[in-house]
Amino acid sequence: MFPFNFEWAWDIAHVVFFGGFWYAIGILGAGMTFCILKAAYDTMKGNGASDH
């Protein structure tokens, strides 16, 4: 999972597999971070308690 794990090897299989994995995790993490920060920013700016 990480380069310091016992099983880790810098071979094509690990690079492809974990490349895909960390890429996906990165997108999800970055996406959620963005959403949360933007939501916090929007809230502080105070432009939207919506009572419809």
Partner: protein, 223 residues
């Protein structure tokens, strides 16, 4: 999605007025939040580094103190007591019989520890229940012969300069795993400075990779 957007747009215009009152309160909350975060971090950090090891490990004293330095001086190298048998197996901590090779007659010194040894164990013909700092889990196979005979390594590389110690440190056992603390190492973060600081699988693998080019197949070190 579009519905939500509409909601937001409507919401923003409708409620712009009532939001102004809350703004200052929000800032105050933020400041408190930052302070809370810092305090909580410090508390967690300190308890993690100082308190956690105390909780994780139980401490026990050896039956009596053992002066390695003295014995090395009197008896010679490590393998005077910790030797390989003819079949290649390793004796480990010597049994009472080995001690009696020298300690058979009267006391050899005047220490309190030797008195305990003579009274409690020699006269009662009881083995000394030493705690073994370097005891590995049951699933581990380790060949001393492979390392000292074939690999030509010395004891210090893995065990440290224990031959120079004059007293036995307390034995610490991980309450969860039941393993000796020397396996994980004294440093709770798992950092090591010397080759003998830790005895984890990764440490074996590191040296094996360096020396043999391969960290080893499972059965090489597991049984």
């Amino acid at each position: 999605m579009s519905e939500i957007e509409n909601k937001t747009e409507n919401g923003s215009t409708e409620s712009a007025g009532e939001r102004t009152a809350g703004d200052t309160k929000d800032d105050k909350g933020l400041g408190l939040g930052v302070i809370f975060f810092i305090v909580a971090f410090v508390v967690c950090f300190l308890s993690g580094t100082l308190l956690f090891p105390k909780l994780l490990y139980s401490k026990r004293e050896q039956p009596f103190n053992f002066d390695h330095k003295l014995h090395v001086g009197e008896a010679g190298d490590c393998d005077s007591c910790h030797y390989l048998r003819e079949d290649g197996s390793f004796v480990g901590i010597p049994k009472l019989a080995t001690c009696l090779d020298c300690h058979s007659e009267e006391p050899m010194g005047e220490t309190e520890d030797e008195a305990i040894f003579a009274e409690e164990y020699v006269s009662k013909e009881k083995e000394v229940p030493w705690f073994i700092y370097s005891r590995q889990p049951d699933c581990v196979f380790f060949s001393h012969a492979a390392h000292t005979q074939s690999g030509g390594m010395d004891c210090v590389t893995c065990h440290g300069p224990i031959g120079e110690s004059t007293s036995s440190k307390p034995y610490q056992e991980n309450r969860i795993t039941g393993y000796s603390r020397d396996i994980w190492g004294e440093n709770i973060w798992g950092f090591k400075k010397n080759s003998w600081d830790r005895m984890k699988m990764d440490d074996c693998a590191e040296c094996h990779k360096q020396e043999t080019g391969h960290q080893g197949y499972c059965f090489q070190c597991h049984k």
